[in-house]
Amino acid sequence: MTQPQKNKRIEIKTTADDHRIAKLAAFAIGLHLLEAVMPSPLPGVKPGLANIVTLFVLYRFDFATAAWVSLLRVFASSLLLGNFLSPTFALSLSGALLSLAALFFVQHLPRRYFSAVTLSVLAAFAHMAGQLLIVRFWLIPHAGVAYLIPIFMAAALVFGVVNGLLTNYLLRINPAKIDEAEG
């Protein structure tokens, strides 16, 4: 009686994809934690390397999986860093949500003309916009953050391009399964 149940549990849960996604999510969390302890000239200006993982998952799997990896990273990292539900977490979450929203709308752009660079740049802009909204309407509604917006957006552009190029690179050196099967 107990034997079949055990077998059933194992059979349902794990596919090769599940393992890959779990690995990628863990990788994203690692990058997130690394950036959290890295010094930054301005709070909020970070490379956002974990977004490379989100983009990679979007290309290799689908939007739902990418969203799942992205949000898992935000929640898990905040639990590990001990800032769950703190302002830092709110910034992280609103950034992630807006950048996912941006990706949702632009994921179907023709691949002939638009690579991960486009997606990465737009996601980075959306990410910054999400963070600035939190800063403006919740954290420090009075202070003049306007002066900092160009710096944030310039950083988003630079890191967006770099992350996009890195994503392109990773996609090329890690061809999709079909390519593997064929090659």
């Binding site: 310039a154 552009l157 630079v158 391009v161």
Partner: protein, 342 residues
């Protein structure tokens, strides 16, 4: 890499824009305040000093009470008789323009009453109360000096009336504004604000906002309102608070009614806003005077005769009347209790 270079080029081009360069100096016996925006400091100073030089020239050439000025010499020949004398093309053009405006104002703007202005003591650098001599004033009014008495032909001029004594005090600052605007445009300056003793003309704007000027309250030390001065627009005020003396509790201001020969008493201030034209500066200086001198029910007509849509009047009791179009342009800093929109 290429994109990084482009990026920094864009940042630098945004930062390289020079801020406001403001210069204050003293010409025409009054404060001249020139603001130039969006040019390099070097260029702004260069253009400003050129403009100030031409102001100095105007001041000396058309000075009403320095006997060696071109204008004083002309006045001397006017007084001497009907001999035509040669005058500079510029002065000929100025006199012709003043004649036209004097006619439009139904002689309320009358720069030929230099004799009266002198009798009231306003042709002095430092003025003090004068002994009011009713008889002298009466005689000066009866002599009826008019701009139309002057005959201008081929850069010569003579007067059919020896009492004509030109005083361009209510005209020259405006003329200088038009000159300054032309010079700024010639030098390629896009944004500037020139203020000569309270008369202001605007070119372009101050950054992303129009130039904003304050309108002085005639009795309080603070401005009462602001107006956004769009490119090419000019603003001028005639006020009884600018030059005046008080005697036996009565205020005698420098704006003299040519009909009576006495300073106007029914108005504290008239502000006019002039739309862009080659004589916007002149109008900002001239057009407020006929309104200032008109009876309350004649002010709208006086403004219309001068082609002025935007005007604001503060009467002797401090009550504010303004045209509907002016009402739309004025932002009150200290809103008067009662405003009449005409």
């Amino acid at each position: 890499m290429r994109f990084l270079v482009l990026f920094f080029a864009l940042i630098l081009s945004a930062c390289g824009k020079e801020p406001l360069v403001q210069t204050k100096s003293y010409v025409f016996g009054t404060l001249v305040d020139i603001s130039i925006y969006g040019e390099t400091e070097e260029k702004a100073h260069e253009v400003t000093s050129q403009i100030l030089q031409s102001f100095q020239r105007l001041h000396h050439q058309y000075h009403a009470w320095q006997s060696d000025s071109e204008l004083s010499k002309l006045n001397q020949t006017f007084a001497a008789g009907k001999q035509p004398v040669e005058i500079s093309p510029e002065l000929a053009q100025m006199l012709a323009q003043a004649q036209t405006l004097s006619k439009e104002s139904q002689d309320l703007f009358n720069p030929a009453i230099g004799g009266l202005i002198g009798a009231w003591g306003f042709q002095r650098d430092e003025f003090s109360p004068v002994e009011i001599n009713d008889l002298t004033i009466q005689k000066l009014v009866q002599a009826n000096p008019q701009m139309s008495d002057i005959v201008i032909k081929d850069n010569t001029a003579f007067s059919t009336n020896p009492s004509v004594k030109i005083d361009l005090g209510g005209y020259a600052k405006g003329y200088a504004l038009d000159l300054a605007l032309a010079e700024l445009q010639k030098q390629g300056v896009k944004n500037a604000l020139v203020n000569i003793g309270g008369n202001i003309i605007a070119l372009g704007q101050h950054g992303d906002k129009p130039w904003r000027v304050g309108i002085q309250h005639p009795r309080n030390p603070k401005p009462m309102a602001t107006v956004d001065l769009l490119s090419g627009w000019a603003i001028g005020t005639s006020g009884d608070y600018q030059r005046y003396f008080e005697q036996a509790g009565k205020r005698y201001c420098h704006i003299i009614d040519p009909r009576s020969g006495y300073p106007a008493q029914s108005t504290q201030a008239v502000t006019v806003l002039i739309s862009p034209s080659p004589q916007a500066g002149v109008l900002s200086d001239v057009a407020s005077k006929p309104i200032f001198l008109s009876a309350p029910d004649q002010r709208a007509n006086a403004a219309k005769a001068m082609g002025v849509d935007h005007y604001l009047v503060v009467d002797a009791e401090g009550k504010v009347t303004l045209s509907a179009s002016m009402n739309q342009r004025v932002h009150w800093l200290a809103k008067p209790e009662k405003i009449t929109v005409q």
